[in-house]
């Protein structure tokens, strides 16, 4: 009999137990697509403080919710918004009131910063297009002029971005942490390589044979993953590609609370009110959830 491989499946609470105040956190996903909201809600329940958020280049809901929970000290900003639903209310309020530290950057700065951390590169050199924008004026620590040693021309250096904790949501995973996104790979592999601890949540835990029968479909390799959490509707109220669409009514409900500066009431009702997402999903109800499923 061959030796047993270890299962990485655990509860969200157990998986996140090591996250401390001040940790650097990233959640994968684009806008409302494949954002690991079940893990974010568990992070809210842990009531950690002073987080440094390294978001993906286009996202919003999870950062806005953690701001509403008072969990954030600093955010790297490329795009924090609600896409087709407009501005992110807690983000807007916190920045306008000067309550949090922000570092204004952009899409390539975050992507290439993660890429540098993923590969252990000391920094990234970019063509100097940012010199035509106001970013170097407001974020001089991130945009440094250097001389390209090969051409003698001015280029811009930007530092690696290395999160302590990464959350990634997928449609399917095996117990060893091999994950499959049905929406294809966006940058989850790079996020996983850049981060010290990677927690994978999955709609469904599949048999290892489901992975090995189509290994080219794996979008996150288990070798990078520390823990696997089974989270049905783990991207809700956002969408999980190939599984279900977003719940527009619930997103609008969140926004109603957030715009009124009553996010704590939303969190009391849907997040703190239970040890998992059972209250939230019961409030949505089986019919509404079924209607979101891909036909």
């Amino acid at each position: 009999m061959s030796a047993q491989r270890r299962s990485k499946v655990t509860s969200a609470a157990q998986a996140l137990a090591g996250i401390e105040n001040g940790a650097k956190v990233i959640a994968a996903g684009v806008h409302f697509s494949n954002t690991p909201m079940a893990l974010v809600r568990e992070l809210v329940r842990r009531r950690v403080r002073d987080l440094e958020i390294i978001p993906t280049p286009a996202t919003g809901l999870w950062v806005d919710m953690l701001l509403g929970a008072g969990a954030i000290r600093k955010i790297w900003v490329s795009y924090i918004g609600m896409e087709f639903l407009g501005l992110a209310p807690n983000f807007r309020r916190a920045v306008e009131a000067g309550e949090i530290e922000i570092v204004d950057v952009d899409e390539p700065t975050i992507f290439l910063g993660l890429r540098a951390a993923a590969g252990g590169l000391p920094f990234v050199a970019m063509p100097p297009i940012h010199k035509l924008t106001d970013l170097p004026k407001v974020s001089p620590e991130v945009y440094r002029d250097i001389i390209d040693p090969f051409t003698g021309k001015t280029v811009i250096a930007t530092p690696p971005l290395a999160p302590d904790w990464a959350f990634i949501h997928v449609a399917k995973a095996d117990v060893f942490g091999n994950g499959v996104s049905l929406g294809g790979r966006h940058m989850e592999d790079i996020i996983a390589k850049a981060s010290k601890h990677v927690i994978l949540s999955a709609e469904e835990i599949v048999e290892p044979g489901a992975i090995t029968s189509a290994p080219t479909h794996t979008t996150v390799p288990g070798v990078l993953v520390e823990a696997v959490v089974h989270a049905r509707y783990g991207a809700y109220p956002g969408s999980c590609p190939g599984v279900y669409s977003y719940d527009r009514a619930h997103l609008e409900e969140y926004l109603d609370y957030a715009k009124d500066n009553r996010t704590s009431e939303y969190l009391d009702r849907y997040v703190y009110g239970s040890q998992d997402d059972s209250v939230l999903l019961a409030a949505a109800g089986p019919e509404r959830l079924a209607a979101l499923e891909l036909q």
């Binding site: 918004g81 501005l87 952009d106 390539p108 297009i129 035509l132 294809g184």
Partner: protein, 260 residues
């Protein structure tokens, strides 16, 4: 007979006319209008152009519905490839994308775009979402701007924050722009079409939509537009274009309701 069309459909046909058969375009958030424009161009005069819908990464999406979320996986319908973010960034830095379509919170007379903050940076009146991909206006070939509103708080003399660079006034800065980058060629609004065909690359009123005049567009703009004589009327969508839009691209009529 003039067919009944919506302003958003008119804007889409105006942007479609700018697309070329050899273009490779990229669009992102809130892109119903440019998406419709590109697909209309592919179905009419530019069958060989390519485009990536950022967010979901779809190359040549053929979704017959205009969905509200750029990252919506349903945009992969009929697509030919799923581009990861790395591809978009590579194509943006190297100018493989010949055209990008963007909007903004503020646009100024030289086509600088702000989506970062309105007011003083340290004490903003309105904090926007952030700079995202706008710096790439200096490294793709052409940029087309489109906005769903046209008023003097959006069209300002000088943006409060340069997220995306317009036509440069400081010759010292020209060395930092990629040599192939032409900059913003067109601005499409619910009132008019504007370009930068002036000696100093200031914004010029190219055409006014039906119901508008040069005076009414100027009154809605926070700086003096270049106006050459009689400004022509914007071409309106043809029956053929509307048929393609409504039967093949926007089958749920999003553009008929988008701007009211």
């Amino acid at each position: 007979m003039t067919p009944a069309y919506s302003v958003a459909e008119l804007m889409a046909t105006a942007i479609a006319r700018e697309m070329r058969d050899d273009d490779f375009a990229a669009i992102g958030t809130a892109s119903e209008i440019p998406l419709c424009a590109i697909r209309l161009a592919q179905k009419t005069h530019a069958p060989n152009m390519w485009f990536i819908y950022g967010g979901c990464g779809a190359l040549n999406s053929k979704n017959p519905k205009l969905v509200e979320m750029a990252a919506d996986f349903r945009n992969m319908t009929g697509a030919e490839y799923r581009a990861p973010l790395a591809d978009l960034i590579d194509f943006e830095f190297t100018g493989r994308f010949s055209v990008l379509c963007f909007g903004g919170m503020q646009i100024d007379r030289y086509g600088n775009v702000n989506i970062t903050n309105v007011g003083e940076y340290a004490n903003p009146k309105v904090r926007g979402p952030g700079t995202i991909g706008l710096p790439f206006m200096a490294s793709v070939k052409r940029t087309i701007l489109y906005v769903q509103h046209h008023h003097a708080r959006l069209f300002v003399p000088k943006v409060d924050f340069i997220s995306g660079p317009g036509h440069l006034q400081d010759p010292e800065l020209a060395q930092y722009r990629r040599p192939w980058a032409i900059g913003t060629t067109l601005v499409v609004t619910p009132l008019a079409i504007l370009d930068f065909e002036t000696p100093d690359r200031r914004m010029r009123l190219k055409s006014v939509h039906p119901g508008q005049t040069a005076q009414s567009v100027q009154a809605a703009t926070g700086f003096e537009l270049a106006i050459d004589g009689d400004v022509p009327a914007t071409e309106v969508p043809t029956l053929e274009q509307l048929k393609i839009i409504r039967e093949e691209i926007d089958t749920t009529g999003v553009l008929q309701r988008l701007i009211v």
